[in-house]
Amino acid sequence: MLELYDGSLDVPKILKEWYEAEATSNYGAYIPFVGTVRSEDGIDGLSFDIYEPILNSWFDAWQEKAKAKGAIIKMAHSRGDVMLHESSYIAAVFSPKRRVALEFIDEFVEDFKASAPIWKYDLLDGKRVYAADRSTPIKGSGLLAKEN
């Protein structure tokens, strides 16, 4: 399940809904990862653009991987502005046993950072500034550039 929200996430509500939705699915481990906007470099917050078609297919491929190990993944992300100390991202793995969940949440979050088609901007003095220095080119980037 992939949920996109305008603005910040209601973390307690989402964590509760996901927990209750799987209450009788017989998963022994539930590991959410919650990402929250930190105060640094004088920003007022962050802002996000999402390209949904590719985000959906990327997520579906991970859901298949999880399924092959008897696990499931859920994810929520913000669109638009998220202010300091608000949260913009939750990913969670449910699995029968702990090792699968502990390994999966790590792999999933790292690939999310490297591959999910989401663009981050700093909110600085009322402006939206692309976070170029913290962004990662998607694998295979540069295809259209001049060879030299």
Partner: protein
Amino acid sequence: MVRVEFLGPIQKPSLELEIQNLNELAAVLQEDAELSEWLKNCAVAVNDTLVSSLEAPLKDGDKISLLPPVCGG
């Protein structure tokens, strides 16, 4: 005719182009000085599937997307 979209921070309107493959797209976009830095770091999707080669033929109505470096979370 194919449509080329620039995603995220690339502030550029879409293009409609008469091209047969991605090699031709590369040639067109490389002439845009503004885009040359982006091209080095952009991934390319055809009809919302990322591609890793310039050779695949394009057909009328295809959608091409340029995806600059990402940072979710």
